[in-house]
């Protein structure tokens, strides 16, 4: 685990010593403010639409953050160094996830001003805000894990970002497509869509199904990343 933490700390430092990490965080904070204004146009101190828009934005953020994890490292030649060092592949994958997870924490902290502002002006439901942030981390980690798997499979950062965005969009839209189907395919596609698992977080509930879904996404993403790295080692 120590090796994973070392990799995570190195990645986190590298991200915030670059204009890319700072820019991503600042842009996400600014976007959250704009989205808040749109959300509050309903004249209600509710943040469900705000969180829902942030979850979609998380897909873009995950695509951007994970393109540096493996694809960028391969392009610059540092991935070979990492893969030939005496660390296990799962430690590398977990370390990379913790690294981008650290960025996620900073990004979440940068958005806290929004609920605080709403709380200062009105009376939002604190339970729904709490579950909104729990959802933010779960959804974010799930998306980042998918991004890591895609990033591990390519040496092009651009392909990595586009691939992650496409994979997440396909998952998300699967639920929409399921609307036209019936029976088991409908149930399975609905279940596989993240859109079906975020509503509880938006309303103020934490469901075992939703936690299991995003937990599985993290495990599956990490396992896929490890498998791809193993095949390339």
């Amino acid at each position: 685990m120590r090796q994973s933490l070392t990799i995570a700390a190195r990645d986190l430092r590298a991200t915030y010593l670059s204009a890319f990490g700072l820019g991503c965080t600042a842009a996400f904070a600014a976007l959250s403010g704009v989205l808040l204004v749109f959300d509050l146009r309903g004249n209600q101190a509710r943040l469900d639409l705000w969180f829902s828009a942030l979850f979609v934005a998380l897909a873009v953020l995950a695509a951007l953050l994970t393109l540096r994890s493996f694809a960028e490292e391969e392009r610059t030649g540092t991935l070979e160094l990492l893969l030939t060092s005496p660390v296990r592949l799962w430690q590398v994958a977990v370390g990379k996830l913790l690294g981008v997870g650290g960025v996620l924490v900073v990004v979440a902290a940068a958005t806290v001003a929004c609920p605080l502002l709403v709380a200062g002006m009105g009376d939002p439901d604190p339970g729904a805000i709490l579950t909104g942030y729990v959802g933010f981390f779960l959804v974010g980690l799930g998306f980042l894990a998918v991004g890591l798997a895609v990033s591990a499979a390519t040496s092009s950062p651009l392909v990595s970002a586009a691939g992650t965005a496409a994979a997440l969009a396909a998952l998300w839209l699967g639920g929409v497509l399921a609307g036209g189907l019936g029976g088991r395919p409908h149930v399975v596609l609905q279940y596989l869509s993240p859109a079906n698992h975020v509503t509880g977080f938006l309303r103020g509930t934490l469901g075992v199904t939703d936690v299991a879904y995003f937990g599985s996404m993290v495990v599956a993403g990490l396992a896929a990343a490890v498998a791809v790295l193993r095949s390339r080692r």
Binding site: Y16, A110, L130, A223
Partner: protein, 458 residues
């Protein structure tokens, strides 16, 4: 190596699929929302299990509003309880055909259909939806008859001393209320469709003919709820004595277990019975109540369960107008304040369910309390009073899983007008200040790092 990899992948996928299937089948959830708006009561869960074929819920709402989003989520909880329950949220303006088909002319109407029957609910909240489902599943409403003509508090009275909350419970449990006035007519009788007769706090004495009518009704497999009023001159004994209960009147006081400074506002923690009336009730608040005594020598077939008993430090004050102190003439505690009598006997003839008749079992149930104040709007939601009444009603009418949930505001109205000043404040802080601070912190960190490196390697 390759085979091991495939095996590991298969095992991992199996574990993930099994875990998700398990979570899907038993979807527990923690509800942190205000007032737990999205947690369905256990009675709703039991009610949903009684839905045996497709039940469709169509909520006609403004689909772009927050109410529609909450409605979808709440209705999805019903679907999780029973997959036969499905729901749709429709905008009547966007779907005029559907709206016309169901005769909908305004927002916030919910239509439930089941086995060709239809019931409408006024809004998407648990109480209204579950009440409608109860009506659909039951296939109709049942009637309870409420005795009038003796100054009883009204079921329409929403003042603190009225019984409007009791009326709402009856309505939410799909009971039709019929007033029963036995003081008029030549030979008044209890209508045959009365599932139970409720005598709720009669202030004036019942006439002998009324008592005879109600006793005859009860004897013939009748169901009677007698909520005596200790504040009145009406003596409920002629009505309850045949069922092994005696009303001793007075005022039950319990200085050690009462609310506030009023020793007559008794809190009851001893609910010794295994009767379903006590299910889920841990404490009751029975203010201004009289005591009950249970006959020691009960006839065969009659059982009387003391449902609620005050503590050993209580007594029945025979002179409540004077100083509250235990003295001669008072009845020492523990005092019974609620009972359930069950009288079963076999009659030689009368069975109608089998051809040719035969002996039939006649079962009478009588529920008695020595106070009527606990049922008033002021006290019904204190401690377990609401649940106690609902349980008693269910026990009398042999209905399972009646709804005791208190109506709660499902509409989550949190007004926050977005003024130009507020919008500007949000944008300045979130688009200007916060990103600026992040960038400034990053630039500052780089400058400090560069200076440190220069010092180390000049």
């Amino acid at each position: 190596m390759r085979r091991r990899g495939i095996l590991a992948a298969v095992v991992l996928v199996s574990v993930l699929v099994a875990g998700n299937l398990l979570a899907y089948a038993h979807n527990a959830q923690a509800d942190l929302s205000a007032a737990h708006r999205f947690s369905l009561a256990p009675e709703t869960g039991a009610l949903a299990k009684r839905v045996r074929s497709s039940l469709r819920i169509i909520a006609f709402l403004n689909v772009s509003g927050p109410a529609a989003r909450d409605a979808r989520f709440l209705l999805a909880r019903y679907h999780e309880l029973n997959r036969r329950i499905s729901s749709t949220v429709l905008d009547p303006d966007a779907n005029p055909g559907e709206a016309r088909r169901y005769g909908i002319s305004k927002y916030s109407t919910v239509v439930l259909t089941y086995r060709g029957r239809r019931v409408d609910a006024p809004q998407v909240d648990e109480l209204d939806i579950s009440t409608a489902i109860l009506r659909l599943v039951r296939g109709g409403t049942r009637t309870v008859c409420v005795l009038t003509g003796h100054g009883e508090p009204s079921l329409d009275d929403d003042s603190p001393d009225g019984l409007a909350s009791v009326g709402q419970i009856l309505a939410h449990n799909a009971y039709q209320v019929r007033t029963l006035d036995l003081t008029v007519g030549v030979s008044p009788s209890v209508p045959r469709d009365c599932a139970a007769v409720l005598v709720l706090g009669a202030r004036d004495p019942l006439g002998p003919a009324e008592v005879a009518t109600l006793t005859a009704y009860a004897r013939d497999a009748g169901r009677l709820m007698v909520v005596a009023s200790s504040l009145s001159t009406a003596d409920p004994n002629p009505l309850v004595n045949p069922w092994g209960v005696r009303f001793v009147g007075g005022l039950v006081v319990d200085p050690q277990r009462s609310e506030g400074a009023d020793p007559g506002n008794v809190v009851i923690e001893d609910l010794p019975s295994a009767s379903p009336v006590d299910d889920g009730v841990s404490r009751l608040q029975f203010p201004a109540g009289g005591g009950l005594l249970v006959d020691r020598n009960l006839r065969d077939g009659l059982t009387v369960e003391p449902l609620a008993v005050t503590s050993g430090g209580s007594w029945v004050e025979s002179q409540p107008d004077k100083e509250i102190r235990f003295d001669a003439g008072d009845i020492p505690g523990p005092v019974v304040v609620a009972t359930a009598s069950d009288d079963s006997r076999v009659e030689a003839t009368g069975e109608q369910r089998i051809p040719g008749g035969g002996p039939r079992i006649v079962r009478t149930r009588v529920f008695v309390t020595g106070s009527d104040t606990w049922l008033t709007n002021r006290f019904l939601d204190k401690l377990g009073n609401r649940r106690f009444f609902v349980n008693a009603l269910g026990w009398l009418t042999q209905e399972e899983q009646l709804l005791a949930k208190t109506a709660q505001a499902q509409a989550d109205d949190r007004p926050l007008p977005l003024t130009a000043e507020r919008q500007a404040r949000i944008l300045v802080l979130t688009v200007g200040v916060v990103p600026g601070l992040i960038l400034a912190a990053g630039v500052g960190a780089r400058l400090v790092g560069r200076r440190v490196r220069r010092r180390r390697h000049p």
